[in-house]
Symmetry: C2
């Protein structure tokens, strides 16, 4: 893990504001010109139905005012805002979030009006993935995939050095079919990776087979390591499904690196060793990606928001 | 189908040579400055083991000399050469072809020495796909997939307006796992799309179930349309597998358009209608691509080679 209180890894550039809006909390920080992260704060995401975007921007504005008072020597030139759901980066629109209740919310416009500065707007996993791609585990690769495996599974893909957007629709690897006759997904599909290999799926599957609901995928892994055959079968099934999902990415875009982040990736060798072996058994002439754990910690989203804000600020200054 | 004897669809530009090298035949043509295709010729691909690349270039050189004699008013400024197998476009290397017997063949260098002009080198399906992308069915799209379904299945992917290469490893959708416990593939894998949905697979599967080997996938389709339940089940299975393969492309790269070419796509509505329905049933919130039949005929490869040669010639002239 990189310690974010050091000036690295962001490096030098304009001071910027960063907001990473989640389903329950939003995280905020001010990045100074030397890359130091200041005033990291976590506040509840204000839930106001269709008005949630306005409420989020109002909170961001308050936090920015607080930074201005506490750090008067640091003047941010731009802000980065990341949100979950379906996001149209290019047009600055929060297209849809089932958890947070918006549809076609003009986040960038609201943010620029509220904060009085240029706003870069993107998706939470794409933002965090971009931090891994530019500053972390996938640094130096041209083609890379970043998979975040927690309660669900989401991906960010980088092609020829740039995030692949497809109007916000790219990277939905959690909702790719890996076992065609597999379990139903709440989204309406069947056999999706997220239903088989996410931390949530591991807990659910173990409960179905054993009748016992454990507190997280790590607890299932611990049971497996202690010799519980049911837990082992559940863990192996998740690894198999994840290898299938990664094999799809390999055949279609052939990334040099696949970065695994999120809670499940913290299992370390208990995940990576069988995963590498299973994937290797599935591939033949395909290009084998390096499988690497995420290197930037839970603040990757903030760092990604800061990167985007700096990119924007650099463009704006150069008169584009 | 576009009639290639008209000056369209290539349009105006430098005169160029185009060679599309297949497993049994190689096709050659000279494209005039107004885009007219001249002297289309099909000759056997010279098979000389590891010396095949040199033999191919020698044939290309002879053909070019013939064009110079027949069309003295047309002076090609560059050539495009497409080959099958694993191809590194950027370095001009034929990395591997099991059918044609080469490994790490420096095609671009051999071609430039033999033909005495700049040579653009690429993969046959990527070249044909590029013709569809720039001049045919996917014209105007930023993100597109072109799937060629014949004896095997290969793909070409275009992302943000450009072919996705990944060092030659991208687009191997024929060797993506769609049914994890499906049949073995000669490449060593299992459940690959190509083993389930190619024209070859349809004939093979029907023979397994009925004991009768028909002459092509179209004959299986005709049986199905005449009420043969076994043929119908084979056809439906192929459509289902193809929908699974396309759904992987949709979740990972979310193309606006999926172009289907090759022999199987000529089945028209008998393929496209059930495919569209099956794919639609698999997708939920994903971006639905338009499914379109290839518009440029069997000479798409030559046209793609010509496009690449013209790109190169334009770059060379402008001093890059």
């Amino acid at each position: 893990m990189i310690t974010l209180n050091s000036p690295l890894p962001l490096g030098h550039g304009d001071a910027v504001l960063a907001f990473d809006v989640g389903g329950t909390d939003m995280k905020s920080a001010l990045f100074a010109g030397d890359g130091t992260m200041l005033g990291l704060t976590r506040t509840p995401t204000p839930l106001a139905g269709a008005e949630t975007p306005q409420a989020v921007v109002a909170v961001a504005r308050e936090i920015a005012a607080g930074y201005a008072a506490r750090f008067p020597e640091v003047t941010p030139r731009a802000a980065g805002i990341l949100v979950p759901g379906l996001v149209d980066d290019e047009n600055g629109i929060g297209v849809f979030s089932s958890n947070l209740g918006w549809r076609d919310a003009p986040f960038r416009q609201l943010g620029e009006a509220g904060l009085g500065m240029p706003v870069a707007f993107s998706h939470d996993v794409r933002g965090a993935g971009e931090a891994e791609f530019r500053l972390g585990a996938a640094r130096g690769a041209l083609d890379a995939a970043v998979l975040v495996i927690g309660t669900g599974i989401a991906g960010a893909f980088f092609i020829d050095g740039k995030p692949h957007l497809a109007g916000g629709y790219a990277g939905e690897i959690g909702h790719s079919i890996v076992i065609p006759d597999g379990p139903e997904c709440p989204c309406g599909g069947r056999g999706h990776l997220e239903m088989l290999a996410s931390a949530g799926a591991i807990v659910r599957r173990y409960a179905e087979l054993s009748g016992e609901t454990l507190d997280g995928a790590r607890a299932v892994l611990q049971r497996a390591q202690a010799g519980d055959a049911t837990a082992q079968a559940v863990w192996d099934g998740a690894v198999y499904a994840l290898a299938l999902g990664i094999s799809q990415v390999v055949t279609i875009i052939a990334p040099e690196v696949v970065v695994l982040g999120g809670g499940l990736a913290q299992a370390g060798p208990a995940l990576f060793e069988p995963l590498e072996r299973t994937l290797d058994g599935m591939l033949t002439f395909h290009r084998r990606p390096r499988l690497i754990g995420a290197q930037i910690g839970e603040d990757a989203g903030l760092l990604g928001a800061a990167l985007r804000a700096r990119d924007l600020s650099a463009t704006t200054e150069h008169g584009a």
